[in-house]
């Protein structure tokens, strides 16, 4: 249906410079996502070696060396500055969820889940990991505690995202406007199954269920990364196919006066 509307109004796609595209807001939000994830990847891995996660049973000397590394403080600063981009990226989902024929409860619960996830899963660990290099005199036991706190909130917080993604999955399945494909709804719910298994990091110190373990971390990553890419591809298609008459951007009204 959307294709036919676009075909009927050629001006909506052509004959207009990109910066006057009426979906520019959504495209900016969308393209912030690859920027955000690439920045995260660079900061997590080569800059600080925060990821892949270090072992919960690491030697205390290794923990101190890691926690006091200046690169870790720089990484935490960059991530704390950049975490706001997650709000921009999540806006892509929310604009599309708003078009679905489902209760607004799904949208609000998704939003709240995303906020809690960002605070617990991103900001808490940054504050923990940044402290060691900020002041050099902390006791080794305190650094060890911050290390545990950092990784537990970083990896153990995936439960917040279970709610977040669960709301998206259910909204897709219940939606009758077919904003996103139904198989994606099942894919979202399917991916959630692996996130339940992360609860084990609160119990296991080593083996497959520890925070650096085969099942609690590595298998989840293998499932999560392609899934996240596919979700964003579907979101991109939903933005592209959204008819212009469904956009909610306020238009400039010549002669408008204050009420």
């Amino acid at each position: 249906m959307s294709e036919s509307i676009l075909a009927a109004n050629p001006a909506t796609r052509e004959g207009r410079p990109w910066y006057r595209n009426r979906k520019l807001d959504q495209y900016i939000c969308f393209w912030s996502v690859p920027f955000f994830y690439n920045l995260f990847g660079l900061v997590f891995v080569p800059l600080s070696w925060m990821m892949p996660p270090r072992s919960p049973t690491s030697d205390i000397a290794d923990v101190i060396a890691f926690m006091q590394s200046p690169n870790l403080l720089i990484a935490c600063t960059i991530l704390t500055l950049a975490i706001g981009l997650s709000a921009v990226g999540n806006a892509c989902y929310m604009v599309q969820m708003r078009r679905m024929s489902v209760s607004p409860v799904f949208l609000f619960a998704f939003m709240a889940g995303a906020i809690v996830g960002a605070v617990v899963g991103a900001l808490f660990p940054m504050f923990c990991f940044g402290l060691g290099a900020f002041r050099s005199g902390y006791d080794p036991e305190i650094l060890q505690m911050m290390y545990d706190f950092g990784y537990l909130s970083f990896i153990g917080s995936l439960g917040c995202f279970v709610l977040n993604w669960g709301m998206l999955g259910l909204a897709i399945l219940l939606d009758k406007n077919n904003i996103l494909p139904k198989w994606l709804g099942y894919y979202v719910i399917w991916q959630l199954m692996t996130e339940f298994f992360v609860a084990t990091v609160w119990i296991a110190h080593d083996g497959p269920f520890a925070w650096d373990g085969l099942l609690a971390f590595w298998f989840n990553m293998v499932i999560y990364v392609p899934w996240q890419i596919i979700v964003y591809v579907c979101i991109f298609r939903a933005i592209r196919n959204q008819p212009e008459n469904e956009l909610r951007n306020a238009r400039f009204k010549p002669g408008a006066t204050y009420a």
Binding site: L170, L173, L174, D175, K176, N178, P181, K182, W183, G185, Y186, Y187, I189, W190, M193, T194, F196, F197, T200, I203, A204, G207, P208, F209, L214, L215, F219, I223
Partner: protein, 202 residues
Amino acid sequence: MAITTADAEPLPDTNGNTTAPGLVPGEASMWFFILGDLLIFGVYFVCYMVYRGEHAGLFLQSQRHLDQGIGMSNTVVLLTSSLFVALGTEAARAGKAARATRLVGIAFACGAVFPILKLVEWLPKLGAGITPGENLFFMFYYLMTGLHLVHVLLGLVILGFVLRSLRSASTPNMKFIETGGIYWHMVDLLWLLLFALFYLIR
């Protein structure tokens, strides 16, 4: 999700001829979920076997704490339930809605016994201090049977929607009934594997 499948894609309700040659029974996107779910469980099963090989003594000793009687009862309950779902689907295909409702109702009742049996099994263990933190075997055990239990509960919700669809619609939505049935058979299949891996292999 159950509502969607019933309402979003109202299919021509034919009595028994919805499965055209070359098409899978039920909704195609549900198969996507089922194959994916089997893949995830498959990876966990393989990991379980690998770690079992590495810690054979620990796993064998821990397995002795499991009650094969309750495990067997769970298997019988689920298999019976699956049989009634299959019979109910056949009845719905033949246009006998009342009979299908009765059969799926029995399947639901059998399925509802499963979580109760799980509680009977888990609570004394947890009371005796055998928790997921006990050792690697019990972590696998609680996690995988727990995830399966979540599937059973979701399956009961779906069967509830199937019952509602059978009772309220003048002509049953076969696609939806088949989708619910396929999901329920998957839950059954997963339990058979769990039962074999945790209770039987010695």
